[in-house]
């Protein structure tokens, strides 16, 4: 119990710290940061339920006014902004990523964690993000999708790094890889 709570809090803090690595802002203001890699790692390392809880905890702290999002952003305004869909998609993305790592045991962990990060952290997350953007800006899903495609290559790179990191963590601290603990 204690360990689970601490690990969830730790990964929420990790998402915050990854957001402080210098960012590159591409077109349309959704900045490229390592923060979404934190979401992927929540899933691959903590597993589905705990990973989603870590993201929820992080979002709760952002909502109550802590400047934990990349660029020192935070507060309630983000949840009605055009990028709100991405934030709301985080817990789901971590859940899907974690679920895949928990259930697909047949392949090398680097590959499983990397592909799980692509499916959860890119496919699912962009689904939410694009829907949110379409809703707020009153554009069609395709038009909203066109605004964010520029970020896909960066996210694929992050998914690859998340996969390699997960495999390396599994070697160095097998007991801490909660997604494969059971």
């Amino acid at each position: 119990m204690e360990r689970n709570v601490v690990m969830i809090a730790l990964f929420a803090a990790l998402i915050a710290v990854l957001g402080l690595i210098p960012k590159i802002t591409l077109a349309f203001g959704v900045p490229i940061t390592a923060q979404s890699m934190g979401v992927m790692l929540c899933g691959t390392v903590l597993g589905a339920r705990r990973g989603a809880l870590a993201c929820l905890l992080f979002l709760l702290l952002v909502a109550i006014g802590l400047p934990l999002l990349s660029g020192g952003r935070g507060g309630l305004g983000l949840f009605v902004s055009p990028s709100a869909g991405f934030l709301i998609g985080w817990p789901v993305a971590a859940f899907v990523t974690g679920w895949i790592v928990e259930h697909w045991r047949g392949a090398p962990l680097t590959l499983v964690a990397g592909l799980a990060s692509v499916l959860g952290g890119i496919v699912v997350l962009y689904g939410f993000g694009i829907a949110g953007m379409a809703l707020v800006l009153e554009k069609s899903l395709l038009e909203a999708a066109a605004l964010v495609t520029a970020f896909v290559p960066g996210d694929i790179l992050k998914a690859a790094i998340a996969g390699m990191l997960t495999a390396a963590l599994a070697k160095a601290r097998p007991g801490s890889l909660l997604s494969r603990a059971a």
Binding site: V5, L10, L14, A34, L61, L76, L137, S176
Partner: protein, 203 residues
């Protein structure tokens, strides 16, 4: 840790946080259901007046956090000018700016402790059902404490990288960084357990 609450004291700081949040929900819903440009213009002017009321410093801080919206405003403006539906575009832009500005206003005028009290109140039904929300409260405190600790560890790692390599630190630093963090997590959970764990006697 610094929160986004404004250091400029306003009268709204003393209003109950729950009421501000409920009002924000209603106002945001209203904005999303109205398509009348006059309503949106009035709302935008009203919100800007609220920002200006506590003084220049408050207004500056408020406008700075709204600045992140400019790419979206630009995209919508260009799209609707080409499309020939400028009126609709104006409604979308005004609604976006007003909704974000209102929400930021609540964040700026509500202390972190008041927000945490609202979170505690919102989780009351869970406690009635017999769930322990103490874990959530400890987890929130842990994140707030661990973020600066992790930042320091990251900075120390970056320094030792610089001391040994002519190249700039890159993503490889994330592995030792995560390992340090995982070991910390083990120590913290041991310490929590040694102090009686998350289940207090009165539970």
């Amino acid at each position: 840790m610094i929160s986004l609450t404004s250091p400029v004291r306003t009268r709204a700081h003393d209003w109950p946080a729950g009421a501000k949040l409920a009002g924000l929900c209603l106002a945001t819903l209203g904005l999303f259901f109205s398509a009348d440009p006059l309503v949106h213009l009035a709302a935008l002017v009203a919100v800007l007046a609220l920002y200006a009321a506590p003084g220049a410093q408050f207004l500056r801080t408020g406008l700075r956090s709204l600045w992140m919206l400019w790419p979206f405003v630009l995209v919508v403006a260009v799209f609707h000018l080409i499309d020939g539906s400028a009126g609709q575009g104006a409604v979308i832009v005004m609604r976006l700016v007003t909704a974000v500005a209102l929400a930021n206003l609540v964040t700026m005028t509500t202390r972190l402790s008041d927000m945490i009290a609202v979170v505690r109140w919102l989780t009351t039904p869970l406690r009635r059902l017999g769930l322990k929300t103490r874990a959530l409260e400890i987890a929130m405190a842990l994140v707030i404490r661990m973020t600066p600790v992790l930042l320091d560890k990251g900075a120390a790692l970056t320094e030792s990288w610089r001391a040994r390599s002519p190249r700039r630190p890159n993503w490889r630093i994330v592995l030792p960084f995560t390992l340090l963090a995982l070991d910390d997590a083990d120590h913290i959970s041991d310490a929590l357990r040694a102090r009686g764990g998350l289940v207090s006697p009165e539970d």
